[in-house]
């Protein structure tokens, strides 16, 4: 118990101390996680909606697979991305292993199934509601996709935040493809893992509290935007 209180003190000191190194790590975590969430949403939202409205063979199997991918083990993703990006691998010539770009790639792979599976559910519910209306207006299924995405945008914001959360909390894959290089690919989670390795548990947990605070702030911001726009454009 004592250690947990001690780490709260450390967290407050870290936040209050405005250590430039800490903030550069926080900023990097934020940038990479937001980039992965945006990239994951750009792929996952249309994919989810297409599966929701589409009729094609193997659709049910695809839904089951997509739902199963919610539990995609991140270390496996890290390993596969590592082997792809390694100099000895097929994408090695780009030389992006152990760079922030490699982290974005791995996190995006983890975010896409979450966004796609949850968006599929939201879009399917909306499709059930508006289907008759849309078809009576002669809107094709494909053309209905943007309408549905736009109409469910407030629920989809939560979906994207779930993707952001997955990216921000990721450690296994990020460690493997990023290498936890000081000042280049060291993000909050790998810094926490490093301090844990060094046995500095209060500092590790203190960093953890900072990370949670940052994620909380981002979610509060997203919630605020949602409330505001729901009031003004809803």
């Amino acid at each position: 118990m004592f250690e947990i209180f001690a780490s709260l003190g450390v967290a407050l000191q870290l936040i209050g101390g405005a250590d430039p190194e800490l903030w550069s790590i926080v900023l990097l975590s934020l940038k990479l996680s937001l980039a992965s969430a945006v990239a994951g949403a750009a792929i996952g939202l249309p994919l989810g909606a297409l599966i929701a409205v589409g009729t094609f063979p193997g659709r049910r199997a695809l839904i089951v697979i997509l739902n199963a991918l919610l539990g995609l083990p991140s270390v496996v993703v890290g390993l596969v991305v590592y082997l792809l990006l390694s100099r000895a691998g097929p994408l090695g010539e780009f030389g992006i292993l152990f760079t922030p770009a490699a982290i974005i790639v791995a996190q995006t792979v983890l975010v896409v199934p979450i966004v796609a599976a949850l968006a599929r559910q939201a879009a399917e519910d909306a499709w059930g509601e508006y289907r008759e209306q849309l078809t009576s207006l002669g809107v094709s299924r494909l053309r209905a996709v943007p309408t549905i995405l736009w109409d469910t945008r407030f629920s989809l914001l939560t979906v994207v935040m779930a993707g952001f959360g997955r990216a921000a909390s990721e450690v296994g894959a990020v460690m493997v493809v990023g290498g936890n290089i000081d000042g280049v690919t060291r993000v909050m989670t790998t810094a926490i893992a490093l301090e844990t390795s060094k046995g500095d548990l209060p500092l590790a947990l203190g960093l953890g509290v900072v990370l949670i605070a940052v994620v909380l702030a981002i979610n509060a911001g997203a919630f605020g935007i949602r409330e505001w726009s729901a009031r003004h454009h809803g």
């Binding site: 770009a101 000081d182 844990t196 390795s197 060094k198 046995g199 500095d200 548990l201």
Partner: protein, 285 residues
């Protein structure tokens, strides 16, 4: 529901384009910042976690203008990184494995850089009565007492050394009947956390131990044996095998760490007044 589909469609598309542009700009900014000369060094957790690199690398960058990016792994994994061509320089501590690495053509040439030493840590009460100067005797006593021992078991340099000591002690701790030998399969720090948690003995390099904070009941029980010396070597990854290796910059790193300047910087690194690494590069190279 209002049915202005084209408008909704365009708004959505514009949002996507804006988001994608933002992401692309971010990526471009990231890779632009990586344009300066840098090399990737595959090294071990002991050098990184002891804090040596925090002191050494800025001096190297100041002297040469080259940024050295360190990926800290176990020696086995670090050598593998070199074999795959994902590192320009390998800086590790397992002479046997390093010589093989060079003999197989993956490394250009191995240079000795420095040494530190291993110690056996264990509970203050020392239930196995392992305390002393002799590492082999100490391990024999731990095995005889069946006292818990936490092993890295991760093919690191420290793990390789530990297995050599067990062999010299005539003990095979990995046989299935032993319950006191706990293989953590993780790095030095996590293994020490485990040892601290269950009051087990463990072999560790002195640097990691000195910078390790979660010691619990553990302290050093065996130290000072000649056989506990732990030699570090540095190698440029062979450009003949991997043409993209940054030959000049990587060679500059190798040259610098074995230069008088680099050696002085290594000797100057201390934790609590205690020197961690002892430079011993051979001047005649």
């Amino acid at each position: 529901m209002e049915m202005n589909l084209p408008r909704a469609f365009w708004r959505l598309s514009l949002t996507w384009i804006a988001a994608a542009t933002a992401a692309a700009t971010l990526l471009a900014a990231q890779s632009a910042s990586a344009q300066g000369t840098f090399i990737t060094v595959a090294s071990t957790t002991s050098t990184e976690q002891s804090g040596l690199f925090k002191q050494l690398l800025p001096e190297f960058t100041k002297a040469t203008g080259i940024e050295a990016r360190v990926v800290a792994l176990g020696t086995g994994q670090a050598l593998d990184m070199g074999r795959r061509g994902d590192a320009d320089v390998v800086f590790v501590h397992d002479k046997v494995a390093e010589d093989k690495f060079v003999a197989d053509g993956w490394g250009v040439r191995r240079f000795e850089v420095m040494y530190n030493d291993f110690v056996i840590v264990g509970p203050k009460a020392d239930p196995a009565k392992a305390r002393g100067k002799d590492v082999i005797e100490g391990l024999k006593k731990i095995a005889a007492a069946g006292a818990p021992f936490a092993s890295r078991a991760d093919k690191s340099g420290t793990h390789a050394a530990e297995l050599r000591y067990w062999k010299a002690a005539g003990v095979d701790p990995t046989q299935s009947k032993t319950t006191w030998y706990r293989e953590t399969g993780s790095g030095m720090g996590p293994t020490l956390n485990t040892a601290s948690g269950m009051n087990a003995y463990a072999l560790t390099d002195r640097g990691t131990w000195l910078s390790f904070k979660n010691r619990g009941e553990l302290e050093i029980v065996v130290e000072g044996d000649q056989r506990l010396f732990n030699q570090y070597g540095v190698m440029l990854v062979n450009p003949a095998k991997h043409p993209h290796v940054k030959k000049e910059a990587g060679q500059k790193f190798v040259d610098w760490v074995i230069s008088p300047e680099g050696q002085k910087a290594i000797a100057a690194y201390k934790i609590g007044g205690e020197q961690l690494f002892f430079p011993n590069a051979k001047p005649d190279r």
